[in-house]
Symmetry: C2
């Protein structure tokens, strides 16, 4: 309501009138990129609209902990409105952007449209199945809170069913967990499932021993964590193996069916296959009229703008930025955060009549947890692994979480889980029924 009403009142000061014609900045997506762009525009003489299909910002790096019963959804999500509620020139729209009308300078919503003077596109990415979309219901990936709860449901339900399964081979399939993809998400899922099976559930069952669980991490390439230095990849593989995970390198998945996965010419009977491979950018980028790369990324200019459209920024996972090193910047939070801040800085410069500057990404390091008290961290000049890397990982992730309440609760959950070997969010919600009956 606020400033838009000013228009109709006659006795306005010039400053107030100016407010009414402030440039409209539309931000699509409230992930890391969109959120930090919005934060960096605070106090700027613009009207900001943040559009997201969700009402919450999701702290994606900890999503695997929701999927493995360590954290609750509310611990890693934060209402977008609350983050910007004190900015009167901001509004938040719960809406789905379906396209961009570049000529008309409008974002097309599923129900309506919204005009912009500056557009920051940060719609993010999902996993993809490399042309095998039929694998999606059989091997869920991990992008949303719903995905995480579905994975949690499948993992916990597999143990429950194994407890009641009299037939030996079916029980073994129920206790076999296959994770496809050896990037950070795959490594983190494998490590966390191993912790559940071998530490958390140990006393809970009578007919089965959860320690019989078989956790298989499949990686098509020659090593885990390909974005990390080789020494850390080797450390991660060795550490996972020590924790009871079977790591199979150079092993591509060739088929996923109900009750089994096929990889490296071998059939693995399993009730639970999880997908941690492949990236596909939001379909929104297709409406931009430029040639996208295979994952749907937009090849951006050195200043992160769309070629020929200096008023349109594309940031985060959706951008193919190769100007700095010749290599694509990875789809991690820091790239999105710095991209969002850069776009905001450019807009502020333009409002002052200055030119954009090129985007310069500062690599603050790369981290992945392997499991309880173990992580790898690569800061270029420094490579860490084990407990120290894990402590660092903890501190850094807590510090980037949004909101004191979430930080406090996550820290408590971690301490609780560390000292008690308990996982607090061990709930099965949703249906008890499933596609897989073990009979196929």
């Amino acid at each position: 309501m606020g400033h838009t009403k000013l228009n109709t009142q006659p006795s306005q000061s010039l400053a107030a009138r100016a407010t009414a014609v402030r440039p409209r900045v539309v931000i699509v997506g409230a992930g890391f990129g969109g959120l930090y762009a919005a934060k960096a525009l605070r106090g700027a003489p613009v009207d900001v609209s943040v559009i997201d299909r969700r009402n919450h910002h999701l702290f994606q790096p900890l999503l695997y902990q929701v999927a493995t019963a360590g954290l609750s959804p509310g611990d890693i999500a934060y209402p977008i409105r609350s983050i910007v509620s004190r900015q009167k020139n901001y509004r938040v729209l719960l809406a789905e952007a379906v396209g961009v009308d570049l000529a008309g300078r409008k974002v097309l919503l599923r129900d309506g449209a919204i005009g912009y003077d500056y557009l920051i596109l940060a719609p993010g990415a999902r996993h993809q199945y490399f042309g095998h979309d039929e694998w999606a219901p059989l091997a869920p990936g991990l992008n949303t809170l719903e995905d995480a709860l579905e994975i949690r449901r499948r993992i916990l339900l597999a143990f429950e069913r194994a407890e009641r399964e009299p037939e030996e081979s079916r029980r073994r399939a129920l206790l076999t967990f296959v994770i496809v993809g050896g990037g950070p998400t795959g490594v983190e899922l494998a490590g966390a499932i191993a912790e559940i099976a071998f530490k958390v559930l140990v006393r809970d069952f009578r007919a089965i021993d959860p320690r019989e669980a078989h956790i298989i991490l499949l990686e098509a390439g020659p090593r885990l964590l390909p974005a990390f230095p080789e020494s850390l990849s080797a450390h991660a593989a060795a550490d996972l193996r020590r924790r009871g995970v079977e790591v199979r390198l150079n092993t591509a998945v060739t088929a996923i069916e109900a009750g089994r996965a096929q990889a490296g010419g071998q059939v693995i009977p399993t009730a639970t296959t999880l997908w941690a491979a492949g990236v596909q950018v939001s379909a929104l980028t297709r409406s931009l009229g430029v040639q996208l790369d295979r994952a749907g990324r937009v090849p951006v200019q050195p200043d992160l703008t769309l070629p020929g459209h200096p008023e349109v920024f594309v940031i985060g996972d959706s951008a193919a930025f190769t100007h700095q090193t010749g290599k694509l910047l990875p789809g991690v939070a820091q790239v999105a955060i710095q991209g969002g801040r850069h776009a905001a800085r450019c807009i502020r410069r333009a409002l002052r009549g200055q030119n954009y500057e090129p985007f310069h990404y500062v690599n603050l390091g790369n981290m992945a947890t392997i499991g309880r008290a173990s992580a790898v961290a690569d800061f270029g000049f420094l490579r860490l692994s084990g407990f120290i890397a894990w402590m660092l990982w903890l501190v850094i992730h807590i510090s980037w979480l949004i909101g004191f309440r979430n930080r406090f609760v996550v820290l408590f959950e971690w301490a609780w889980s560390y000292f008690t070997f308990d996982k607090a969010a061990r709930l099965i919600t949703g249906s008890l029924d499933d596609e897989w009956t073990g009979s196929t």
Copy 2:
């Protein structure tokens, strides 16, 4: 695994052999009744099987706080296995009981059967729509975590849609919340929605002012909280009205359709109707071959057993126990807890060759929250309302919660919410689509 293997080993002591033929106690349902029966059987020379469709015990008295974004599902749920994991003679079955074969002494599961020597039936109850099952999708009730998340989704989504709704009458319908039923659940929901609208969301929107929200509590009878003394009912109604809730007494709902509810001869345009009326006991009781009351309750003997079947106890919401005062015991946690403990005590007595004793319910009091810093409490000799009742309510509910972790987190969330006027679990998960489009 443990004791069942003992059978096959030749060199067993007599004591160990005895274990193998211990009486089998089957408990159906791990709500308050079933759980406290299981706890009270600790150390008894029996084999206990706990059957539940869910893997968690749900602390139902706080479910309305999940529905109104104050708590997360994990805060009020606890894995059943963890509760009894140290009892080697206990096992937990995630299974759905569909009937009882009294002659064969078997509980029929959807997938199998399980024999018993003693059976404790505590399957609980759900809400019912008094023959209007078509109202169920339009006016969800509050029994499970899924119900709570669905209600939370509807409440939060209504505000989001109102923010984007240009048409005045539709916006008003989106900001109108109708709660059917003035028992504790209805009172608690109405008070909590008022808190969200008038305190929590105040700064979050631009096009709407959440304070325009219209919260209507409908009660068919002459007063709220009919199980409480009249003075407390009057206090609750007055307090809710002071908090901005419209309380309509003697007003029965006659129709619920998409986009509207009808009550007292009046049509109320509303996008969100919530159901807090009517109790229907689990269909499991129908297989017992006795005449049930209208809600499906089993008329039990003075010792809580099924007539003619001293080996079968029916406790909690499923039992119609009228022997003590001539009036039906209410469907509250304390009745279930004391019933569960009573059944366990009877079984222990039977094992020692003693007779059952009749069940004697000790009314420890009755409480309901009205909202922030206000509750009513009836201890018979003492009636409290306002802040003191609320503090008491807090302390008692924290002390009955299962698990230190849950107690700590719930206490933290309450303190956080009290001092910041924030609700931490303000997440919309699930579909953004809905039956109601506002066009009907």
